[in-house]
């Protein structure tokens, strides 16, 4: 048989990469929503006029990069922040004693503003564009001196391009029960696919210290995160301050 061609995408790259590109485009355009199944491998092979193996290889890569999830006997599904075993897929903070109590959320602020220079640069906006600024606490429930107590562990400042988050208000946020990224997925059709973080140790300022219930000047782990959606398009910039007296940030290198 002669080599098939995917006429829709010119340019020369392996077939399976072209197919991956087409599938990613489908995800971007919402052809298949998070949690839904994409067509079967044989169906896609027929549609693109390639063999099942080629489709398989394209899907393999997307599975590795966290875009899709396979379930044997059922199908291949669009990855979602909804049904993660762990509530927070991107949060690398773990309790030292390993217990994984769910975290409580407390929203402190939600307002629209002109993008500060640093935020505009990170989100690739023009310096005048409007952003939504959120500030919130994540609170752990843990045994302290024999008593169960609520201890704030994360203070996040979050900036979002207002153009992408129309209708986001303090009320709608407070009504939402569940992780932010799940809400972004459900309400704004924006799926966070990748995040790049820069970590530093910093001394707590007075305000942040008060919110996190530590002494001013106490060491905190600062996590600067740029999260992006399918095309690598930056969609959120956040600055987190983590208390690491009873928690730590875990990472694996290979």
């Amino acid at each position: 048989m002669t080599a098939p061609s995917v006429v829709e995408t010119p340019s020369f790259s392996p077939l399976y990469q072209q197919i991956r590109t087409l599938l990613v485009k489908g995800l971007e355009q919402g052809e298949w929503r998070p949690g839904q199944a994409i067509p079967s491998e044989l169906e896609l092979a027929a549609r693109f006029k390639v063999s099942q193996g080629t489709v398989r290889k394209a899907i393999d890569e997307m599975v590795v990069s966290g875009l899709l999830v396979r379930r044997q006997g059922k199908g291949t599904f669009v990855a979602t922040h909804a049904e993660e075993a762990t509530q927070y897929r991107f949060l690398r903070l773990t309790a030292d004693d390993g217990d994984a109590q769910p975290l409580k959320r407390r929203l402190i602020e939600c307002r629209r503003m002109r993008a500060p220079a640093e935020v505009a640069r990170a989100l690739d906006l023009r310096s005048g564009d409007t952003v939504v600024h959120l500030r919130r606490l994540l609170i752990a429930t843990e045994a302290v001196a024999g008593q169960m107590a609520e201890v704030p562990v994360v203070l996040d400042d979050i900036w979002l391009p207002a153009a992408l988050f129309k209708g986001l208000t303090l009320d709608s946020l407070q009504a939402w029960r569940g992780p932010l990224y799940r809400m972004f997925e459900a309400e704004f059709q924006l799926k966070m696919v990748r995040a790049d973080e820069k970590l530093r140790a910093v001394a707590a300022g007075a305000d942040d210290a008060a919110l996190l219930e530590v002494a001013a000047g106490a060491p905190l782990l600062q996590v600067e995160r740029l999260a992006s959606s399918y095309g690598g398009r930056p969609v959120e910039w956040r600055l987190g301050l983590y208390r690491t007296d009873r928690h730590h940030y875990r990472n694996t290198l290979t």
Copy 2:
């Protein structure tokens, strides 16, 4: 053709996984050393009596996990810490301005001792076993106030099971030019394959502060690392203190 079998490994798992296991065993036993080529795919297929595609899939996984490296037209090679583009494959610290000057090393200490409880637990030793304790600085050369200056950025305390590092001395370490993990590979046939890190923000103690040339109490990024070799066997435990005033620890989530 009837299904082939790999008689050497009973148990039921996919053929390609059995082959991966055999290849990993070859790496553990030093059949192929870091930097060397393993046999070609066709040769391995013949040896194991499977098709090339099956060997390919086994190798694919090992490439993803960083054990092997493919070079088209040349062969498949055992990954090594020797010829990394970046000198330090496992060091996630980056200068804020992005410039990647090589770091200088200064060895402060190398002595044998009974394993402290914490170290013994991490390295899976009995609490009486001997360990080698190293202490060293990594020093960056950077422009400070228009002048090039040497600034200490990392202080590492490193513990190694003495039984695995016979003959390691301060002199031999100081004679070695290059990353530590390259030396472990070359001198002790121990390749670091994986590392698990726990990050915290801490306040600098007096001694550490002096070595890193910061004020006592200054915030530092503490990186606890357990590095392991092929079988997942822990081989090194280290506690690093990173200055993050001009550097940051980078990480990508997917």
